[in-house]
Symmetry: D2
Subunit: 271 residues, 4 copies
Amino acid sequence: MGEVRGFFYPRTASGRSSLIPRPPWYYSGDLLTVEYRTDPARVAELLPAPLTLAEDDPGAVALIWADWQSCSSSREELLDPVRSQYKEAFVVVRCAFEGRTYSRCVHIWVDKDFAIARGIHQGYPKKLGSMWQTRPHPFSQAAPRLAPGAVFGATLAAGDRRLAEAVLHLTGESENGGFVNGHPMAHHRVLPGIGRGDADAHAELIESGASQVDAGQAWRGDVELRLFDSPTEELARLEVHEIIGGFYRQVGVVWDGGRSLARLTGSDREA
Amino acid sequence: MGEVRGFFYPRTASGRSSLIPRPPWYYSGDLLTVEYRTDPARVAELLPAPLTLAEDDPGAVALIWADWQSCSSSREELLDPVRSQYKEAFVVVRCAFEGRTYSRCVHIWVDKDFAIARGIHQGYPKKLGSMWQTRPHPFSQAAPRLAPGAVFGATLAAGDRRLAEAVLHLTGESENGGFVNGHPMAHHRVLPGIGRGDADAHAELIESGASQVDAGQAWRGDVELRLFDSPTEELARLEVHEIIGGFYRQVGVVWDGGRSLARLTGSDREA
Amino acid sequence: MGEVRGFFYPRTASGRSSLIPRPPWYYSGDLLTVEYRTDPARVAELLPAPLTLAEDDPGAVALIWADWQSCSSSREELLDPVRSQYKEAFVVVRCAFEGRTYSRCVHIWVDKDFAIARGIHQGYPKKLGSMWQTRPHPFSQAAPRLAPGAVFGATLAAGDRRLAEAVLHLTGESENGGFVNGHPMAHHRVLPGIGRGDADAHAELIESGASQVDAGQAWRGDVELRLFDSPTEELARLEVHEIIGGFYRQVGVVWDGGRSLARLTGSDREA
Amino acid sequence: MGEVRGFFYPRTASGRSSLIPRPPWYYSGDLLTVEYRTDPARVAELLPAPLTLAEDDPGAVALIWADWQSCSSSREELLDPVRSQYKEAFVVVRCAFEGRTYSRCVHIWVDKDFAIARGIHQGYPKKLGSMWQTRPHPFSQAAPRLAPGAVFGATLAAGDRRLAEAVLHLTGESENGGFVNGHPMAHHRVLPGIGRGDADAHAELIESGASQVDAGQAWRGDVELRLFDSPTEELARLEVHEIIGGFYRQVGVVWDGGRSLARLTGSDREA
C-alpha cells in the first residue's frame, strides 16, 4: 500500500494535495494593533492550567488586524495569489509558564483555509471571519500615507455579525508596535477523543515564535475601539477598561516550527 | 487559573465560543452520488499502512455532493442558518483493515468553518471549496421534481479553478444510493509535530459512522462526469475508467462519535 | 463594425456574454414573509411623485426572504447551478398610482450578479447581501417539516453588519402568503446623467408582475422580528409598530416583461 | 409624497441608502497591465455602430488587474474599508468615433456591489468575479519589491471557472503603463425596454475619463498570459497573437463625470 506524503492532510503519493506545505512559512504584511486593559479576571479565565496570569500588567490585551501575503520556500503561491493573500484579526493576552512570560492568542479569525490549517498546527484557534483594514498607499486620493495624521479603520465580522471596529489616528513614531504580542506564543493544541465522552486524544502545550522578523518604522496613534457581542463569540467579554494605544507597522516574518512544552492529560474539556 | 470548557477551540470559561458543539450532530440533506471505476493502483496509493485495498471492486470511487442543514442537540443553529447550512463535495474509496471493509474519504471540500472543524475531529481532510448542485422543488418552473426524467447538475471548484462537473439524468428507483460510501469510515487523524522535522505528534486510525440514518426513496440515473486538474488538487488523478451509475437521495443522519482503531507511529509523512 | 447581440451587457457578436438572458425568466423557490405595520409617514417618504400612499392599510410592510433556483427558457443554468441559485431578502410596501394599488420594493439584497442585473431591468434597487433562511426537509434531524409547529429562522446582513433577524413559528394553513406583495409592482428605473450635476438621463415608472404563478399550500405563523441600523441602510427606519403575521409558501413563477407607466423628468435626485 | 434623494438607488428621504454616492469618486491603487495583439476582426465585432476600429494598431488589447481603495469626498468609506476596497480585472480595446481615438472596456469583473453600480453609471459592463494580483511590499519574505527582477502573478475567475492567468517579470523602468487604456473611454449605457421584445429604453454613447491622475514610476516587464474559455464569457475569443508587454504602476485617480456623445436608437440588441 501507499507511502503517503504531505505535511498536512490530505496525504497522497505525491504530497501535492496537502492543504499546507512543510515549514518554513514566509509572510509579508501590515499589522494594525490596538492595545487596551481589561479586567485581569477575564484574561485568567482563558488560561487553563498550567498557565497563570502574567505578573506585569496582567489585564493587557492586543487586538491585531493583519493583511498578509504568505508563501512556502518555493514561493510558487506568490504567482497564484489566491493561495497567498489572506487577512486576519486576532486577540492576544499574556500569561506565565514556569517563570517565563508568554503571549497567547485566545481568539482569531481568518479568511482562507490554508490559514486555518496553519492555526491547527500552531495552536491558533482559527475561525472564518471577514476582516478589513485601511491600506496605506503612496497616492492619497483614497488612502492614508504612513505619516502622522494618517487615519486607518479596521473591522471584524463573523457569522454575518460585526464583532469589532477600530479607528487609529497616527500621531508619531514609536519604538515598537506594541508589547502584548511581543513574547513567544504559548498555545494549546488539542484534539478531542473520537469516542463519545472521551477525554482529549491529544493535548499539548507548545511554544512558538517567528524564526526571523524584519520590521519597518513603527507608528503610534490614538484609538477608538468598539466591541460587539454575538451568540457564538466572546471577544466582547474582554471589555475595554482603558486604551493603551494603537500601532501600525509593516513586517516580514519567517516561521519555522516551535517546541513542545508539555503533554497534558487532556481532560480539561470536561471540566 | 481557568477551567476552560468547550468541545473544540477556542475553549473558554463558558464554552460558548467553541467552533463546534459536543456531538451528537444532526443532519438533513440531499446527496447526489456518482460512482465510477478508476485504476485500483490510484486508490492503493491513497491507503497508508495498515490499510489495504478492498477485495471486491477495489477501483470503485464515489464522488458525492451534499447540500446540508445541520445542528446540535439544542437545534439553535437552525434559527441562525448561517451556522446550519453548508455544502460539500467529497471523494470516497473503499479499503480493508483487519479483514473488514471500510469506506474512506480521500478528498473533501466544504464551505463553512464549522464543517472544517468537524472534519478535523472525524478525520475528513476538508478544504474550502465552492460546490453547487441542482435542487429539486415541487414547482418545476426552474427545478426538477424527484422523478424519472429529472436532470441535476453538480459542480466543484477550489482555488478559483473548476475541479469537477457532473450531470445526472434520473431513470428510475434504486434500492440504494450507491455502495462505495456504504461502510463505516476508516480515517486517519494526524497532527504534525510542532518541531522542525518532527514526526507526527498524533497519528491515529479511527472508525466512524452514522449512529442513525433515515433515507428516502433512492433514485438511479445516467451520469456524465468530467474531472479537471489543478496544481493543488489530485481529484483528477482518480481517472474515470468506467461509470458505475448515479444516485439521488434525501437523508436524515445523526453522528455521535466513533472509536479508535489504532495509534500509529506517525512517521509516514516523512516517507 | 459589429452588430452586437445580447439582452444585457456586455453585448458581443454572439450574445453569449450577456449577464442575463432575454426574458422569460423562470423561478422555483421558497418564500418566508413577515408582514408588519410601520408609521405610514415612513412609507410615504419612500414614494416619489407621482406615487401616493395606498388608501387601505398604508403602513403595511412585507419583509420577504426568498431561496431561489432560476433559469432562462433554455434551462441550461440548472445544470451549472452557480448560475441558477441565489438568495434574496426584500422589503415591499404598497402605493397608489392613477387610482390603482401597487406593490413596490423599496430595499432589496441578493447574492449573485445576475440577480442584480435583473433588478436593474425590473427596477428592484438591488445590493449585495448575505441572506439565510431555514430550509424545510422531509427528514427532520436538522430541519422543520412544512407543518404546524415548524420553526424557521431568517437573517439578513450587508456590509458585514446584521440588518434583520426573524423567527417564524408555523401555526396552521393560510389562504395566502401575505397581502402586501400581492399587487403588480410599481418601480422606478433611473439612470443618472453622465455629466457632473446632470439630471437623470433616464427616469421611468414601470409596472411589472409575474406572467404565471404556481403556489403550494400557504402556511401562517407567529413571528419575532428584529431590525438593526447601519450607516448605509435604512431598513430599520421602517420601525415595527405591529406584527401582522408570518407566512411560508413554495412557489413557481414566470416573469416575462412589464410595461412602462410614465416617463419622468428625472430631476428628483437633486430634490 | 416624498422628495427622494440619492445619486443611485435606492433613493430615500435622506439619500443615505444610495448604493453609490454622488461623484467625484477617489481611487488609490495598483495596476498590473498586460498588452497584446489579437485579430482586429475580434475587436471589430465588439464595436457597435457608430464606433469603428482605431486606425493605428487596431488589434491591441489591454488586460488590466487593479487593486483599489476608493471613496467619496467625505472619505468616510476609508474608515469602514469593506465599503472602500475592491479588486477588478478588465479588458480594454481602442476604437474611433468622429475622428478621435477612444479606449473602450469590453469585459470587466469586480468583487463589490458599489463597483458594479459605478459601472452601470460609467458604462463598464461589470460582472462579479474573483481577481487576485501579487502585492509588492517593503519586506520581501513573501512579496516582490517594486524593482527589476520582481515577479507578479494575476488571476481572474468567474462562475467558479478560471478565465485568465498572467505572470509579469519586471525588467526595468517604463515611460508609461501601457497605451491601450490611455484614451478617454467611449462606452455605451443601455437599458433594455421593459416590455417583451421592446427596443432599448435608453441607449447612449458616453465619453468618460479621469479628471485627475497621479502616477508613480511605471515598470515594464516580460509577460506570460493564458486565457481560458467559459460557457458565459468571451475573453478567450480575444486570442493572444503577440504579447506587447506588461506594466506595473501605482496611481491615484479622481473621476468626476463624463459627457454624452450620442443618443442611440437602441435597436442593436435585436440585430
